[in-house]
């Protein structure tokens, strides 16, 4: 069972504040969904390998699985500086601006 303390801790990890009402609702919803997820424990998976992605399961070509596909490390065009900054909430024209990070 997830506790109120767990909700507060996970919210902190996820960089969410959440109102008191949201936290109460979250406690109820997380417990309901995790209760359902617990049915996975009915299965014995001791000798089953984890599957992180699909590509590792098919399509080996030229001895290379798509999951390991590599490309040469070559310089390619990228987004111009000005365009990369165009959506920035705050910028000085060179960098993104954020509140002071180091306190002293």
């Amino acid at each position: 069972m997830v506790s109120e303390e767990d909700v507060a801790y996970v919210a902190e990890l996820a960089h969410l504040e959440l109102t008191d009402a949201e936290r109460a609702r979250m406690l109820k919803d997380l417990n309901s969904v995790l209760g359902y997820i617990d049915r996975l424990n009915q299965l014995d998976t001791t000798n089953v390998a984890p599957m992180a992605q699909v590509a590792s399961r098919y399509g080996e070509r030229n001895g290379e699985s798509p999951a390991d596909a590599m490309r040469p490390d070559e310089l390619r065009p990228c987004l111009p500086h000005e365009e990369a900054l165009r959506n920035a909430p705050k910028s000085d024209g060179i960098f993104f601006k954020v509140p002071k990070v180091i306190e002293r």
Partner: protein, 486 residues
């Protein structure tokens, strides 16, 4: 010209034969959107400048008598999770409310290179998280067949635009059923290609190992024509596979004689609406009559698909959505410290379902729970893949209902996340396993609501899926002639 009856194929022919122009079509569709979309809410943003300049280019080609590209002049709607250069791209989230994308998704550039006219960006559940389109940060979409009902989700706007006749075809993304389930609810065709068949470059990430871009259309042939343009290796997405792209239209119209069609018992059990069952079973009979061999079989791990999905999808989402922090783009709510700015931005920018999934995903990845939840779910994902390997050793395709019920009412499931998650019970497994699937209309309920049949195929065997789908579509044509609701 009756806009409602236009298909991808007939639109291009009309432009080619000078019955109309791409510009006149754009005019007509924008007029229809203006008149009919306010009641539906399928579109979030229209990109008229872009559409008209593309239409003018197509008309210039047609005037010169040059060969026309395969989607010439076809008006298409794109789910707002695909980036469009210079056009607002929101993922239906307030956190990206004013985001102007600096580049095009590969899906978008491929469509335009093929001559398509992109009319606008469609509404969806926020970050594609939902099964009803009610989680949009900009309001719900209504089902054009019955305005009191949901269009399905998350690609609800894309499916609804076709059903309302405000687009000829559309693009969506499917992570747990988000193309197939809205296609079923709106009575259109929705195709989820194999993972790695269509590039995810420029698709705003929800769960990277599960996100599949794909097309919607009115007919199976339309889905094939769209896939032809979308499919293929993209150097900008290293998960796209270097597997040859066949001529998909060549499969459409082929008979199913001798094909083996598997019917998994687990998809016809408890919780399946009686009318949905009857419609899908009658579709299966049509396949048998057309010469396919129907093979009953079992996918024993099916009951574990939804819990597996909600661990893996939320874990990946919590990681993917960490980028929305108010620093580089999107919403920023100022705070005294950096951490406070992050929290305020994310609290204000994300809706309830997105927060719920970030929390769940963060929890299952957090210290002490990783093995119990995330690793466990990855192991069960292997078992689900094994079920399909065994099934596809015996049969060519699997046929199931797309969703357990027809479209439900707005508000019906919004307060019960688990009930909403179960709306995807027949679709999530294909996402986890990465196989292709299509939903096609296969009848209507007594209330007149569309019912969808799902056909699943082997990795990279979209051709056989389209072939089987077309035979069902053709066999049901007498009672399923395409109709637009108004």
């Amino acid at each position: 010209m009756n806009l409602d009856l236009l298909t991808v194929e007939s639109t291009r022919t009309a432009v080619l034969e000078k019955q109309t122009t791409a510009t006149a079509l754009a005019d007509a569709f924008y007029a229809k959107i203006e008149a009919d979309d306010p009641a539906i809410g399928a579109y979030l943003t229209l990109c008229k400048d872009r559409a008209y300049s593309q239409a003018a280019a197509i008309d210039a080609l047609a005037d010169k008598g040059d060969a026309l590209p395969p989607l010439a002049g076809v008006p298409i709607a794109v789910k707002d999770v695909f980036t469009t250069k210079g056009v607002r791209t929101t993922a239906a989230s307030k956190v990206l409310g004013n985001f102007i994308a600096p580049y095009d998704a590969t899906v978008v550039s491929r469509l335009e290179d093929a001559g398509a006219v992109i009319l606008g960006k469609t509404n969806c559940d926020e970050f594609a998280m939902g099964s009803s389109n009610e989680n949009s940060g900009f309001g719900p979409v209504r089902n054009p067949r019955d305005h009191s009902r949901v269009p399905g989700g998350s690609s609800g706007g894309s499916a609804a635009a076709i059903a309302a006749g405000t687009a000829v075809a559309a693009i969506g993304s499917d992570t747990g059923g988000s193309i197939r389930q809205p296609a079923a609810f709106c009575g259109v065709v929705g195709l989820m290609p194999t993972y790695g068949r269509v590039s995810r470059y420029g698709l705003i990430a929800f769960a990277s190992s599960l996100d599949h871009p794909g097309p919607f259309g009115k007919t199976v042939k339309d889905a094939a024509l769209m896939l032809q343009v979308l499919a293929g290796r993209d150097p900008l997405d290293s998960t796209t596979a270097d597997v040859p792209v066949p001529d998909y239209c060549a499969y459409v119209g082929q008979p199913v004689t001798g094909l083996k069609v598997g019917v998994p018992a687990e998809y016809f059990g408890e919780g399946l609406d009686a009318e949905v069952r009857a419609a899908v079973e009658s579709g299966i009979q049509k396949l048998a009559k057309a010469g396919a061999e129907v093979v009953p079989l079992s996918l024993p791990h099916t009951p574990y698909a939804i819990p597996t999905y909600y661990v893996i999808a939320t874990a990946e989402a919590s990681s993917n959505l960490a980028r929305y922090d108010g620093v580089r783009y999107g919403l920023r709510v100022e705070g005294k410290s950096l951490a406070e700015m992050y929290r305020r931005t994310r609290d204000a920018g994300f809706g309830a379902e997105v927060k719920r999934r970030i929390m769940l995903g963060t929890y299952v990845l957090s210290a002490g729970y990783y093995d119990a939840y995330y690793l466990k779910a990855q192991r069960v994902r292997s078992l689900l893949a094994r079920d399909f390997d065994e099934a596809f050793a015996k049969v060519d395709v699997l046929v199931t209902p797309t969703a357990p019920t027809p479209a439900f009412k707005l508000g019906e499931k919004i307060d019960d996340p688990l009930a909403m998650y179960l709306a995807d019970i027949f679709t999530v497994t294909a996402d986890l396993v990465g196989i292709p699937g299509i939903s096609i209309p296969c009848g209507k309920s007594r209330e007149g609501l569309p019912i969808g049949m799902q056909i699943l195929g082997k990795h990279f065997d979209e051709g056989t899926v389209l072939r089987v789908a077309h035979v069902v579509e053709h066999a049901l044509a007498s009672k399923m002639v395409y109709e637009i609701s108004s």
